[in-house]
């Protein structure tokens, strides 16, 4: 009974789509989160040729009987739609309007405390905090997961004491107490679907330790196709209503396939009771 396997394969895919939807819903309030859209794809079909020779006349389709083997979750695509901008009035909150990502880094150390390499990550999450950092020997802007914001050369911003009056212009120039400390880099990725999502609202930037990001990406703040807004955050682009209708849709598909399994199972039990009366 191939039909059992067909429906089981589909249910596995549907379960994964359900996981994806619930992840979107749970990140409803994550700043800068981009939803993923799951889509299904057909599996291979097999061809059977166990047919009498006379069958080759009066057919609508080429010879052979082709039966598919179900469906799988084909891919989940990032939806790069802009989330809405939420005013927070916190001076270290920055929202990107337009395409692009902040580049944030973290130093990876070995057991002795020596720095092995820098991890480069991309994020849309602009909810930074100011904190003293021992390695940099000054105050840095870091994400909730501890990655430090970098400028347009991929170098972390380091601010001396005391940090007051942070000003970030639309073009990304960072001022503290009237002194300029460089420009924030916002990097455009041509193909965000290929970015590896590493959790914590971050993507792997795939830049070697210490490399300048401009070798791989373009800085959109410099070319003017995106702007920053201080004192605001970009909310996630998850739409509650859309996800809910997707949830209903997926659940119905799940039920239908489980019904199909039930019917196939009943057929097997009928075949089983051929000799029992």
């Amino acid at each position: 009974m191939q039909s059992l396997n067909i429906s089981t394969a589909a249910m596995r895919g549907i379960q994964q789509a359900l996981d994806n939807t619930s992840n979107n819903l749970s990140n409803l309030d994550t700043p800068g989160y981009k939803r993923r859209v799951a889509s299904f794809s057909e599996l291979l079909s097999g061809s059977m040729n166990e047919q009498p020779a006379v069958d080759n006349q009066n057919r609508n389709t080429p010879a052979g009987l082709r039966i598919g083997s179900g469906a799988r979750l084909g891919l989940t695509k990032l939806d790069m739609g802009q989330g809405s901008i939420k005013q927070t009035d916190v001076p270290t909150d920055v929202a990107i309007e337009g395409d692009g990502y902040f580049l944030v880094t973290k130093k990876i150390k070995d057991a002795t405390g020596a720095v092995i390499q820098e991890e480069n990550r991309l994020t849309r999450d602009g909810a930074f905090q100011i904190e003293y950092d021992d390695d940099e020997g000054g105050y840095v802007l870091h994400t909730p997961s501890g990655y430090i914001l970098t400028d347009d050369n991929g170098v972390p911003f380091v601010l001396p004491e005391p940090v007051r009056n942070i000003q970030i212009s639309k073009e990304g120039v960072l001022n503290a107490d009237g002194t300029e400390y460089g420009r924030i880099g916002v990097w455009k990725v041509d193909n965000p679907d290929q970015l590896q999502q590493v959790g914590q609202n971050l993507f792997d930037a795939e830049i070697a330790s210490g490399d300048n990001p401009s070798t791989k990406y373009t800085n959109v703040l410099a070319e003017g196709s995106a702007t920053l807004r201080q004192g605001a955050l970009e909310t996630s682009n998850v739409n509650m209503m859309e996800e809910m209708s997707q949830l209903v849709n997926i659940q119905r598909a799940y039920q239908l396939n489980s019904r199909a399994i039930g019917i196939s199972d009943e057929m097997m039990s009928i075949a089983n009771s051929l000799r029992s009366r």
């Binding site: 009974m1 191939q2 039909s3 067909i6 429906s7 394969a9 589909a10 549907i14 789509a17 859209v37 889509s39 299904f40 794809s41 057909e42 599996l43 291979l44 079909s45 061809s47 047919q51 009498p52 006379v54 069958d55 057919r59 609508n60 389709t61 080429p62 009987l65 082709r66 039966i67 598919g68 083997s69 179900g70 469906a71 084909g74 891919l75 695509k77 790069m80 739609g81 395409d99 990725v189 041509d190 193909n191 965000p192 679907d193 290929q194 196709s225 997926i250 119905r252 598909a253 239908l256 396939n257 019904r259 199909a260 019917i263 196939s264 057929m267 009928i270 075949a271 051929l274 000799r275």
Partner: protein, 321 residues
């Protein structure tokens, strides 16, 4: 008697195949561009039954005794099988996704001169080297417009087929040494590939790739379903590039063979939307129910015949019953 056993068994087997087809339709209820299969049942070839060795029958007074002549009784079908699974190419409904790499295909092409159905398909292919055009035998046809861009910047389907342009070449959306359209790729209603030039803000044609590879397939039932959302041409099946078909259509119009265009203006690609599967869940589930009951009926027939055979084997001629 014994024949009936085999007839019913063939019925059960055919119904199992039909159940597999229905289950596959249901499994793909959320697959973009999926076209549902319809199982076609066919009776085994008929045989003629005759009465033979007539001289052993009663000799009726006044009637000739046709010794050795076989008398035809009638026809007998000895079973059923599922001969084909026919894909149904009706248009599925379309749903908005707002993703630039989702493209729904809508068509309402008129049948050709012989009344054969015509449908529009995207051309895709698996390529060893994406810089080379695809060979005609490698081209596959799909209605699934749910694509993404791979690491090399080419437009691909979810199953790793390259989406082809009008010259059967893979479409380079993000060229590291040239134009990168990225998420700003625009596809017009006619399938033309464009991007917005950041400097001027005008729509420009994608270099080397003016248009998506759309093909008109006449009599699409001649396509072979390969799975993974693609179909293959086989035998006498015909597919022609859309611009060729359009040119022929214009010529036929000019020659006055018919009055309204059969192709021009009867199709469109819709970016940011996908065509959903054309599977009707209600119809499929009720189909499964009737399969189940027919299966059960066949099982009852087998059981009944088995019961009578048992009588013949064990009860007839028993001494001291």
């Amino acid at each position: 008697m014994i024949r009936g056993l085999y007839t019913s068994a063939s019925g059960m087997l055919a119904l199992q195949n039909r159940q597999e087809t229905l289950a596959n339709n249901l499994a793909n209820i959320n697959t973009p561009g999926y076209k549902q299969d319809v199982g076609v049942m066919r009776a085994f070839p008929e045989q003629l039954l005759s009465r033979i060795r007539d001289q052993e029958g009663p000799d009726v007074q006044g009637y000739p005794n046709l010794t050795g002549q076989a008398a035809v009784i009638g026809r007998l079908n000895s079973g059923v099988y599922m001969s084909e699974a026919m894909p149904m190419f009706t248009q599925g409904d379309i749903a908005e996704t707002r993703n630039p790499y989702d493209v729904a295909l809508l068509d309402n092409l008129q049948p050709d001169q012989d009344g054969k159905e015509r449908r529009l398909f995207y051309s895709v292919a698996r390529l060893e080297d994406a810089t080379q055009p695809a060979q005609p035998e490698d081209v596959r046809y799909t209605r699934n417009g749910n694509w993404s861009v791979n690491a090399d910047g080419y437009l691909v389907t979810a199953d790793g087929y390259y989406v082809l342009d009008g010259d059967n070449r893979a479409i380079l959306v993000n060229d590291p040494n040239g134009v990168s359209a990225g998420q700003g790729l625009k596809i017009s209603r006619q399938g033309e590939l464009q991007y917005e030039d950041p400097a001027t803000g005008t729509l420009e044609t994608l270099p080397n790739h003016p248009r998506l590879g759309l093909s008109v397939v006449t009599d699409p039932l001649q396509l072979v379903r390969e799975g993974t959302n693609v179909f293959r041409l086989e035998g006498e099946a015909q597919a022609e590039a859309l611009d060729v078909a359009e040119a022929n259509d214009q010529a036929a119009l000019a020659a006055g063979q018919y009055t309204t265009p059969a192709i021009a203006g009867r199709y469109g690609t819709q970016q940011g939307w996908i065509e959903r599967a054309n599977v009707d869940p209600m119809q499929t589930i009720t189909g499964m129910m009737s399969v189940l009951r027919a299966y059960e009926a066949n099982q009852r027939v087998i059981t009944t015949i088995d019961g009578t055979l048992e009588k013949a084997a064990n009860e007839i001629g028993r001494v001291n019953g």
